[in-house]
């Protein structure tokens, strides 16, 4: 049984079904991320302390550019399909997929970085962040926490840029803190503070969206592309809809980056 308006547009609305569907779905996505962003605002307004500059800005900036590029190649893939140039479509979509994978790789490096970064809150309220100068098991057992604190300029763009490529020399100084002076200590996991909780939740959900987008686009690059032989316009429609989702996910990141990395 055929559903009307899957390939051609309905004359009075000027849209085919999937396009209406995706815009509605994206509206609901706006509300989903809207819930998270409003939670962020609500929590930040009520917070007594909000940490700054604990994310690696150059990495985030690089990822932002990767995603914006992928949006451009996404449009090029769709327009190639519209012009019935299948080889180019595959090529541009391939680059889009590569950018998506690159984004997730960089993101996972950032996550790993955070899990190796430690913070210590002393009983007098002072917070020291840095890297452990001992193994994790040792740190659990020992009465003293040996930590290489972050240097003063750790928040600087140049320092962060250097830290991606080499271990900065400033970290050599080792602090020894007796555990009885510590209120609590942990690596930078969601539990560490509300800021990191927000960071991991929002970027985590965003990463899941990227992953979902990659699966769909991968399908249209691989097995789904065979639709081209039977009905190229139908494939173009599907790719357009998937592209709209992809642009939306990019757009969310464009809001996430300043919210979490810069402000």
């Amino acid at each position: 049984m055929e559903i009307p308006y899957t390939v051609t547009a309905r004359p009075d609305t000027g849209l085919y079904n999937a396009k209406v569907g995706i815009w509605l779905f994206l509206a609901s996505e706006v509300m989903l991320f809207g819930g998270l962003f409003s939670a962020y605002i609500f929590l930040r307004l009520g917070a007594s302390h909000w940490p700054h500059h604990i994310l690696n800005v150059p990495m985030g900036l690089f990822n932002t550019m990767v995603l914006i590029s992928s949006s451009i190649t996404m449009v090029l893939a769709w327009s190639s399909l519209k012009m019935r140039d299948f080889a180019k479509y595959r090529q541009w979509l391939g680059i889009t997929l590569f950018c998506g994978v690159l984004f997730l790789s960089v993101k996972s490096v950032e996550y790993k970085d955070k899990f190796h970064h430690y913070g210590v809150i002393l009983k007098n309220g002072q917070e020291i962040t840095g890297h452990l100068a001992m193994s994790e098991e040792e740190a659990m057992r020992s009465d003293v926490l040996k930590i290489k604190p972050d240097p003063e300029n750790a928040g600087d763009f140049v320092y962060q840029l250097k830290s991606i490529f080499s271990k900065p020399e400033a970290e050599e100084k080792v602090l020894e803190i007796p555990k009885n002076e510590i209120r609590w200590w942990s690596n930078f996991v969601p539990k560490y503070n509300t800021y990191l909780a927000t960071y991991f939740t929002m970027t985590g959900i965003h990463a899941l969206h990227i992953l979902g987008g990659l699966l769909v686009l991968g399908y249209f690059w691989g097995p789904g592309a065979s639709l081209y032989k039977r009905n190229p316009e139908h494939l173009a429609n599907r790719v357009e809809v998937a592209g709209l989702f992809w642009h939306f996910v990019d757009l969310v990141w464009i809001f996430l980056f300043p919210t979490l990395y810069l402000f």
Binding site: V20, A27, S28
Partner: protein, 615 residues
Amino acid sequence: MDSEMSMTSHAAHGLHEKHEEIPWIRKYVFSTDHKMIGYQYMVTSLFVALFAFFLMVLMRWQLSFPGKPIPVFGPILEKLLGSSMAPGGVMTPQLYNSFGAMHGTMMIFMALVPALFAGFGNFVVPLQIGAPDMAFPRLNMASFWLFFVGVVIMMVSFFVPGGAAKSGWTSYTPLADFADMGPGFHPLFNGQTLWLIGMAFNITGSLLGSVNIITTIIQLRTKGLSWMRLPVFVWSELVTAFLLLLAFPPLESAAIMQLMDRLFGTSFFSPEGLIVNGKHADISGGGSSILWQHLFWFLGHPEVYVQILPTMGIVGEIFANNTRKPLWSYKVFVYSLLAIGFLSMIVWAHHMYMTGMGQAVTSFFQIFTTIISIPSVLLGTVLLLSLWGASIRFNVPMLFALAWLPMFGIGGLTGLPLGWTASDVVLHDTYYVIGHFHYMMAPASLLALFAGIYYWFPKATGRYMNEFLGKLHFWPTVIFFNGIFFPMLVQGFAGVHRRWYDGGAGWQMAQNVLWLNQVMSVSAWALAIAQIPFIINFFWSLWAGKKVTDDNPWQATTLEWATPTPPGHGNFLHPVAVYRDPYEYSVPGYKQDYLPQWEPEERLRKEGNLSQIPS
């Protein structure tokens, strides 16, 4: 457009061959046919409703006879859930709380909304707009199965250590953040976590469903079916779908954050310095439980309208059909639906007057909460005035639809004192609140649900439901609904708290209204018994009911009655087009008292059925 149409009818002509081709599992289980998915939603949610109703009946026994073993069912509970939950067949406070939470959750999210929005929506909407199916049939299947997995997760959660969720259907934090975290805590298999996961499945399912319904209504309306010719039920589904689409996702993000709180030790919803079980809670600190309330009620309030709007649509259809005249003012009805839909999104914080919001904020919410009663009253007025001067057919669907009107009235009017801070301070968290919202959710919603089932049953199955059994179902149902919920309003004025496990037995001022607990409990049991004729009627009529001789047994005007009975794959045998408004009953100059939307005027004039073209 025409080629699309002929394709549809062509597919329908190959009906019989098609039926042989579809294997059993594709036809009944993983079906992509909107009608089958409608039945699946309806059957699943009726089953859930029965189950959740049963939880309530057991709770009402506990309230009437606190601390006494429950006859017959007590030992079964003890065997099923373990002696820590029901020692000697006596309900523990813990079990009472979990029954309360699950009764609310299941009734609202997994019984009423799926039945009214998805069940009727799936079956009726494509038929009423002349579509061959929903816009996205496979997405439709996915949305049902996501919902189904959600239901299974909720059901299973009764059997994990510690039992099902206990924090109410609202899952208020920080209580819910720390619920079920006692000894033997498993990060995944505990009531509250499973509640969150089940809800995430349910929300995702309803999201896909609402995308599907809206797209179908926008795109698949047949030729001639302009917006102002849509049946009111389609309008109500459209508004409902928008509410679900926009209000549910914030709750999903809240559920994700609560999952983070429970599984990864974050503190989105728990404030700093929280003491749990006499110990400083091991959390990072800095969260806010008010944040949960905002995110929850941003859905929670529109959710009320999600279930009441489709009932308005159903009642509108049945009123027009059985008064044999057009709705008094179709346009007022439609604009009221739209206004209610919009306003319901900006009144959520009237559930939160007791959280200490500022004067300006509460003023805003009081004003809009009061304003929302205007379209509601207009809508009721449309229905009431539609009865004026009508020759009403008192069949079973009409009886249920008629009874909906006063129940909706009581539910709505009792809500006003709760919308104003001055009276809400007194009535908050008492049985008055329970009485008020149950009038909306139980009598109003369920009466329309039954009305819809009796009304569309002949189209779905080709057989009528029995009239006598229907009336045997109707009268006790209406009476005992009021027997349960009216005394709640009285108890509420006496200050009986809504979550008391002993029904107020320990409280001085509740003593003179305690006897009402027995009235309510007996009514609850009587209501249960009153559903037996319905269940018998439903299954008996399915196989042995009186056969429908005409495709349009109620002499209705809307498009769903233009299909064969029951409709096959692809719905319509011939291309349908629409020539007039939805409720052309008793048209002057026409020899029948109804003029269906799909009858072309040229043909009517040729056959001499029309002396003049109605303007």
